[in-house]
Structure formats: structure tokens, C-alpha cells
């Protein structure tokens, strides 16, 4: 996928943050980097339809989703965009099956059941089908939230730090499944992350945002080159001084 699938030119003020974004996404996997309060979540909310920008235009897959000048506004559920946030926000009164099936009202009962089964299997959550969210662990909730967002097969997936608080192995396992599933269906994703290594691993485009504006956008190897050099330098410095790692002279901890 090399052609531009999403074009956004937006102005949006939220408290002290003034968001002024102009970007065009074309990579299958784009990582959004930036410090806290930089505007990452605000940008994703505008793209997903959870916030209305004061001014601007968002075009996705050739369809205008937002155009403040002409009053165009496509509601979130009609955008074909999946959105998973840090909070799984599962419906507490429904079991896992009910949660995942909620976005499948357009399918027949049988097709919906099959799709739910496939999604739960993908995220190793088949055994959780009849459980309520209150009976799930944090990692299980996030897996179900992902299954719920992917079940309607969106044309774009927004991920706002959905794996925060999960242990590294679990996160890596989920990411692997997710990227493979998305790649198979050619569904692009915009992913908020703080992990430089992850950006390199997923061969992502990187968009650096700070102060509500895009500071850099391009391949990870280019955009994050300086940051990687700095991390490698820091790592080298630490390794050259074993006592800083709490190691004894003979290498024992």
C-alpha cells in the first residue's frame, strides 16, 4: 500500500493544546510518537469521529468524513474505522460474545456467531466467550477490546496505547497476531507507541507529534535515526560501566 489513504488538515483547540495537523497517511503501519499532551489522542479522536475539529477536513479512502466549511460530518460508526484505547471500555452487562458481536448488527445471526468465534480464536480468547468483563484480567480485557474493534472488519484501525500495562511477552504476542491479521486484509493502522524498537520491528512509518503539530513524518530508519543513535549510545555507556547495572567485577549480579 503506497498511495495515500487518509488525508487530514485540521485545527482543533482542547484546553491548552492547539492542534494544527496536516498529514497524509500511506504506510500500512504508522506509529505516532510524541510526549504526553502532544496531541496524539486528540488527533486519533478527531479521525475516529469522537471529537469534532473546529476547522478542517478529513478524507479517508476517497470519502470526505469531515469538512467543517460545508458541514460534512460522518458519525463514528459509519467511518469504517476501528478504535482501541488504553481503557478497554467493554460493556459490563454483556458477556465477551455479546461485546464482540455488538458491532455486527448488519450480519445474520449465524455469520455474526462465526465472526465472533474467529475473532476470539485469533486473540486466544475462545475460552472467555461466556465471561463478563468483571471476571477478566487486564490483558484479557484488551484482547476482547481488540476483537470487538476488529470484528466489523474496519478499513483503518486506530490504536491509542492499548497495550499499556501489559507485560512485554503478552504485548509482543498480541502485536504479532494483530499485524499479521491486518496485513492479510490490507487494513492500515495508526498506532500510538513510545517504543523505538517496536517501530523498527514493524517496519513502520513514523509520525512525530509535539505541541499539537507534526514535527516529522517518514520511514522509522530516517525519522528515528537520531533517537536510535542516542539510545545505542546510552546502552553502550551503561554496558561499559558494569557497576551502573549493579554487576560485580566478575559479572555476577
Amino acid at each position: 500500500m503506497s498511495s495515500v489513504y487518509l488525508q487530514a488538515d485540521i485545527e482543533h483547540t482542547l484546553g491548552n493544546l492547539s492542534l494544527r495537523i496536516s498529514c497524509a497517511l500511506s504506510a500500512p503501519w504508522t506509529v505516532l510518537f510524541g510526549p504526553s499532551g502532544a496531541g496524539k489522542t486528540s488527533l486519533l479522536r478527531v479521525l475516529g469521529g469522537l471529537s469534532r475539529p473546529e476547522r478542517g477536513r478529513v478524507v479517508f479512502g476517497g470519502r470526505t468524513l469531515v469538512e467543517t466549511e460545508s458541514g460534512v460530518w460522518v458519525p463514528p460508526a459509519e467511518r469504517g474505522i476501528g478504535f482501541v484505547t488504553q481503557q478497554p471500555a467493554l460493556f459490563p452487562h454483556m458477556d465477551v460474545t455479546g461485546n464482540v458481536a455488538f458491532g455486527l448488527s448488519g450480519l445474520s445471526r449465524r455469520s455474526s456467531g462465526e465472526r465472533v468465534g474467529q475473532m476470539l480464536q485469533l486473540f486466544h480468547a475462545g475460552h472467555l466467550a461466556r465471561r463478563r468483563p468483571a471476571d477478566l484480567s487486564g490483558g484479557e480485557k484488551q484482547r476482547v477490546a481488540l476483537a470487538r474493534a476488529l470484528a466489523p472488519e474496519p478499513r483503518l484501525l486506530l490504536l491509542d496505547e492499548p497495550f499499556n500495562g501489559l507485560d512485554a511477552d503478552l504485548k509482543a504476542g498480541i502485536l504479532e497476531k494483530l499485524t499479521a491479521w491486518l496485513a492479510e486484509r490490507k487494513i492500515p493502522a495508526l498506532y500510538v507507541s513510545h517504543d523505538v524498537a517496536e517501530a523498527f520491528e514493524t517496519a513502520a512509518d513514523v509520525m512525530v507529534i509535539d505541541g499539537g503539530q507534526i514535527q516529522a513524518h517518514g520511514p522509522a530508519a530516517v525519522v528515528l535515526a537520531a533517537r536510535r543513535e542516542q539510545l545505542l549510545w546510552q546502552l553502550g555507556a551503561v554496558l561499559s560501566q558494569p557497576d551502573r547495572l549493579g554487576l560485580q567485577a566478575d559479572g555476577e549480579a
Binding site: 474505522i81 476501528g82 455488538f102
Partner: protein, 219 residues
Amino acid sequence: MDRQAIFLTFRLATLTTLILLAIAVPLGYWLAYGQARWKPLVEAAVALPLVLPPTVLGFYLLVLMGPRTAAGRALTVVFGHPLAFSFAGLLVGSVIFSLPFAVQPMTSGFRSVDRGILEAAELLSARPGRILARVLLPLVRPFLLTAAVLAFTHTVGEFGVVLMIGGGIPGVTKTLSISIYDQVQDFAYAQANHTALLLLSLSFLALLIIYGRRGRAGV
């Protein structure tokens, strides 16, 4: 005990509660999530019966329903008879007077729903009616029960408005609370005691249901 008054009171309270729930769900939803600038105006109007003396409300309703106002004449055309001193008029008055008792719990209920859950539903379904039925109403069920119980019991116990616009006509507008008043006027204290005890038991039971449910639901 005045059986006619018991039947009439429970009929009035049941109909008032059903009408109020039909109004309170959409109005409470709008008050919780709406962003209109004039929302405080509606909130104040809904809450007015809480602070207004019942006789004041009753007086204005009586005037409004009477033949001297355009509204009263229009209502007469719609219902085929003047609303004052009729069961329909009593129903209109009860709905208005008990409005905050149904709307405020529903507004609180909708406001208590986690914003993230509502947004998750909006991302997955474009039909507000489906979101209301499948996500919001099940989550605000304890508040719905509170609204229903408060609207019902408040209507059962209402006196001032009922007397002003109903006049206490037996079988038409004479409710239990007016029946007690009449029994005391007639020095029939034993009868008044029975009726009062019925209302007391009903009120206590209603509060027991609300607090019992709240305790279990952790609301």
C-alpha cells in the same frame, strides 16, 4: 377504607409513572449528553416543581386549563371537555408535578455511565436507539427503577395540586390523600388512620426497594 379512592389513586399513579418514564428517558438523556446553550433553562423548568408550593402550581394549571386561556380552549377541543376537575386534568397535573422525580434520577443515571463505554458503542453502532436499548438502559436500570418508584409514590401522596385542579370529586378526582383530609374533616379518625397507614406502608416499601437495589448494585 375508600376503595373508589384507592382504585383511582393507583390508576392515576400508574398512568403518571408510565407517561413520566416515556418522557424522562429521552429528556434525561438529552440533559446528560446534550450541549445546547439553553439546557440550564430546561433543567430549571424541570426542577421547578421541587421548590414551588403545590398550590401555586395547581393554581396556574387550573387557570391554564380553564376556558379563559387559549391553551385551555385548545385542550378542551382535544379532550372534548375542559380539563379542570377531570381525571385527564389530574393526570396532566401529576405528570408536571412529578416530572423532576423521574427526570433527575434518569439524568444522574446517564451521567454515571462511563464516557468510554458510550464512545465504544458510538464507534460500533450508528443507531442511537440501539445504543440506548442495548447499552445505556441496561446500565441505568437501577436509576430507572428509582425514577419509577419516586414518580409513583409522589403521585400517590400528592395533595395540593390534586385538590386545586381536581377538587376531590368522588370517583373522578378524589385520591387517597384527599380522602384522608375529608375523613379527618368528618372526625372519622379510624378510617383516616387506615388510609394513612396504607400510604405510610406503601412509601416505606418503595424506599426499601430503592435502597435495597442500590445496596446490591452499589449505586
